[in-house]
Symmetry: D3
Subunit: 223 residues, 6 copies
Amino acid sequence: MNVVVQNIPRAEASVLAGLAAAGVATVHEAQGRSGLMGPAMRPIQAGTGIAGSAVTISVAPGDNWMLHVAIEQIKPGDVLVVSPTSPCSDGYFGDLLATSAQARGCAGLIINAGVRDVKVLREMGFPVWSTAVHAQGTVKETLGSVNIPIVCAGAAVNAGDVVVADDDGVCVIPVAKAADVLAAAEKRTALEEEKRLKLASGVLGLDLYNMRERLAAKGLKYV
Amino acid sequence: MNVVVQNIPRAEASVLAGLAAAGVATVHEAQGRSGLMGPAMRPIQAGTGIAGSAVTISVAPGDNWMLHVAIEQIKPGDVLVVSPTSPCSDGYFGDLLATSAQARGCAGLIINAGVRDVKVLREMGFPVWSTAVHAQGTVKETLGSVNIPIVCAGAAVNAGDVVVADDDGVCVIPVAKAADVLAAAEKRTALEEEKRLKLASGVLGLDLYNMRERLAAKGLKYV
Amino acid sequence: MNVVVQNIPRAEASVLAGLAAAGVATVHEAQGRSGLMGPAMRPIQAGTGIAGSAVTISVAPGDNWMLHVAIEQIKPGDVLVVSPTSPCSDGYFGDLLATSAQARGCAGLIINAGVRDVKVLREMGFPVWSTAVHAQGTVKETLGSVNIPIVCAGAAVNAGDVVVADDDGVCVIPVAKAADVLAAAEKRTALEEEKRLKLASGVLGLDLYNMRERLAAKGLKYV
Amino acid sequence: MNVVVQNIPRAEASVLAGLAAAGVATVHEAQGRSGLMGPAMRPIQAGTGIAGSAVTISVAPGDNWMLHVAIEQIKPGDVLVVSPTSPCSDGYFGDLLATSAQARGCAGLIINAGVRDVKVLREMGFPVWSTAVHAQGTVKETLGSVNIPIVCAGAAVNAGDVVVADDDGVCVIPVAKAADVLAAAEKRTALEEEKRLKLASGVLGLDLYNMRERLAAKGLKYV
Amino acid sequence: MNVVVQNIPRAEASVLAGLAAAGVATVHEAQGRSGLMGPAMRPIQAGTGIAGSAVTISVAPGDNWMLHVAIEQIKPGDVLVVSPTSPCSDGYFGDLLATSAQARGCAGLIINAGVRDVKVLREMGFPVWSTAVHAQGTVKETLGSVNIPIVCAGAAVNAGDVVVADDDGVCVIPVAKAADVLAAAEKRTALEEEKRLKLASGVLGLDLYNMRERLAAKGLKYV
Amino acid sequence: MNVVVQNIPRAEASVLAGLAAAGVATVHEAQGRSGLMGPAMRPIQAGTGIAGSAVTISVAPGDNWMLHVAIEQIKPGDVLVVSPTSPCSDGYFGDLLATSAQARGCAGLIINAGVRDVKVLREMGFPVWSTAVHAQGTVKETLGSVNIPIVCAGAAVNAGDVVVADDDGVCVIPVAKAADVLAAAEKRTALEEEKRLKLASGVLGLDLYNMRERLAAKGLKYV
């Protein structure tokens, strides 16, 4: 039962831009500490942050056929989110697929497996988060599905969910919650700016957050 | 029995500066190949080397409360050394804690767990060695202790021990031995400079270190 | 039975240069997807690609004695390929060995273990691929062998085999096949350039590779 | 937003019994190769197979408070399925919790973390699949949720989903599909019995499955 | 500076027997959740629990020479606790060393590395906890030390410390605290028996531990 | 270039029986400490030891087609040795393949990947060493090769090489050396019996192997 779902929801561009600006750590907190991919999901570049609607791809281990299928489904700003059905570090994605995805307006790739041609990918400015870098080639023999619910690096992802990715990793937000999470994230960012100024001036977190009494009540002793 | 030990020994600034200049590999050798943290402890930046007195922090998994407590104990040049009581990759430390630590003169962070906001940490020039990068938030519910003996990434660390950290990892030196280790390290560095010149000129290690006879005695055959 | 084999085959310089230019992913494909080291073998630098004849070194865990022996066997352009007889992350190789190897014309190091002094190695422009960075020192007590067949990071390597290494990892090519693999790689590179132009113009891989019919035959449904 | 969902769907006892008898490998195939947890999820006992309705539990790392909450929600035959919000190997579950769960008719535990008191758990005949065995204690400070959708060892699990577990691992089946998957599994088991007899008599899979022609067409050469 | 410390403290036999009976999970709790080795330390047998005084051994990677030295230091009931100075999975210990250790009255082995001859070790009834099983042989070239402080699988161990080991792992208790920890463990065990009876009768932990009010105060909702 | 090599060398039955009796640890030593697979290769059963001629199989990740091809090449006593071309934990082999292999006289399976139906495999008495247990199914789409040189769990294996496997792991012996290795193994076993008697009587290894003088010369101090 392998399918390509062609119509998926997408968050508004302004919401995506706001979430990218807020960054993964803030968005993860603003959402109540859910939706985070595991720490093995790492960027191949430094200093880049994105947010986009997920085109999800379920693939067989060592088989990248469905990536070609998925690229047709990309709308500008979308992010490819790929997960094999069993653990795999093969290089599913390289410079040709990146060229094709970029031509469709793809904002980046999140893959619970390997990528290759990473030097060229960095030069192209095509952002990637992956769990491996490996030149190992893949075949085109077994069907998978596009835009079905998947699990990627420990996070559940539905087609159209917002994925936010930066140097801290990747966080997934259900599209229906994206605007609310953005609002909460922006509030959090504003509050953090205030705190930052106080902390930078030498005020201690112990005082800023009124922790001393509760620490003492729990039994902390200074010796 | 959770405590904050407020008075800890500290090495002299000149000793710390010397050890930082010598670097981890040399210091580790100078100390008789002890005190090294495991290879999973990696820097989030490249090209930075530090040495400082350890403010040790024992924390519960997923709980960063004691970092706020520890920051009050920092004296300029100190290094925070954090280890959870069981394996954990959560992001205990981000830009706000770094701002607060930096305001107190903290020289850097060594953590047997994760950090987040790494882009900002790099921009702030706050050096970090960690075993993970993960946006996962932590709670403030369970006490730990500050400045008690801990084990961090396989190395025993006492409060006030010197920690030396650079691109090669992290090495721990008991404060009472720090001056002797520095002397041994400087001697080693001087000797290495001599060797480097000879090796660069094409002299072989086989000859420089007189290895040929011992190799033959052990039975090595050239065919 | 520890030996140093002194005469090994070597590929021609022009073939090596061609393979380095083609890169690991292309060479691996051109060779029929064989010879690739595992994804734990990573560069300590970014953006560097090399190809050279392998001087193979089998070492005991935690013992780098044979690296000194091997350096005498280097001819300009050779690559040291080191594997311990059991899993080990110790720092076998640092700036002094690199100085000595560089003085002999060594093109780089591939090691299924750790290296140290990585900041200096990067500054020297001495390229390294390793499975760990660790300052841990090694001893010089147990013999190994030089230029015997070894297994390194999952790949079999014979003395004189061509090793190609870049940001994607490391691939091994038997010296007898090197010219043929280069020819196949260059053909592949030329073809990829054509494809790249088409994909960049917006042509889909689905159409470029005529995949639609076969996907439908396998049962893929669009919904 | 921490909740306990009190009404969940459950598969019929006869369906559960059939799925337990079919076993994980067969059920996974019958469901189209989906729903399998990763290979790090291992039984602490050998030779035991179960199937039950999932009471799902999302917990904080190092905090087992919600297991007490979840036990009240157990109906006879249910299976506890626990996943922390970040990677954790602590011992969330031991003999007291097992005694309590067993008293409520709980059929077993699946946990993407550690357990302890494993000798007693084995003696009690309380079946467990976990990703670690570790005595490390947990706290009771942070809320989680019961019977919400979770991801456990790479598989998405909804409350009431059927979990089948045996020596091969753990597979998850949506409750709505459970009867169909059982029918497909039983058909598959019957077919396998036929095949087993033929294979045991010496008939080759090459002939039984008519593979020779397709292998030749793909280019396989006998030399 | 390699030494063999010949006089070490030892806990009384009755204390050791009591701690072995209490088991690792209880002892770990009774000691305030400290001293536990990591979850990679696993028994090679099932159902065996021991407690003994630690003869500590610091070894080079791949070198088991110091085990021969340490065996002379064993007094009946002692446990060998071995840790290499860098990560290693070699088989340091097999049936001959076990025969020798057993002849001296050794109660078992805890090793942060590999062992071999495990079938014979099991038949001999010589209990072992290790982080690997590997036939890989070791050399006898490099000195280490006996009865110095070591770190083993993440826990600090001093010579003479009590090590308690069973199916749940290994816990370390400073000899000076052993009697107090035993008293606390026995109290805990008695309390657990009461709780067990209540839980077995169907009383919920929610009620037994009065959790409902605190859960509600924290905001848990039943839906 | 996928091939099935039909004629392979095989060691004599008496040599195989002798090597199985000697066991992995002894054979590995007798061969000069080479040919050992890594510690991730573990038996699914306890107490079983085998030796046989290797039928080698190179497979694509997640594709077990070539196992059917290989079974036709089995002669009684042969051992299947399987390695995917990239890291994979899928369950390539289950009870039907075991039935077929057993019908051909196959002595066991060594696989650098996963197996499934392990309860039945144990009941059938079909011995298996693998790097994973996972129910994940595989496809039959991509050719591999049979009886070509492969690398399996870090060891190079040629078709017809002797593989010896027991609770300690797996060791590979070139067929041309098998008789010599057996002779060396038997000599070693005899010597070990003498040593065992002396050690069991309380003689120390320090004295049996005359280590005291060399230890003192290296600088070991008793304090």
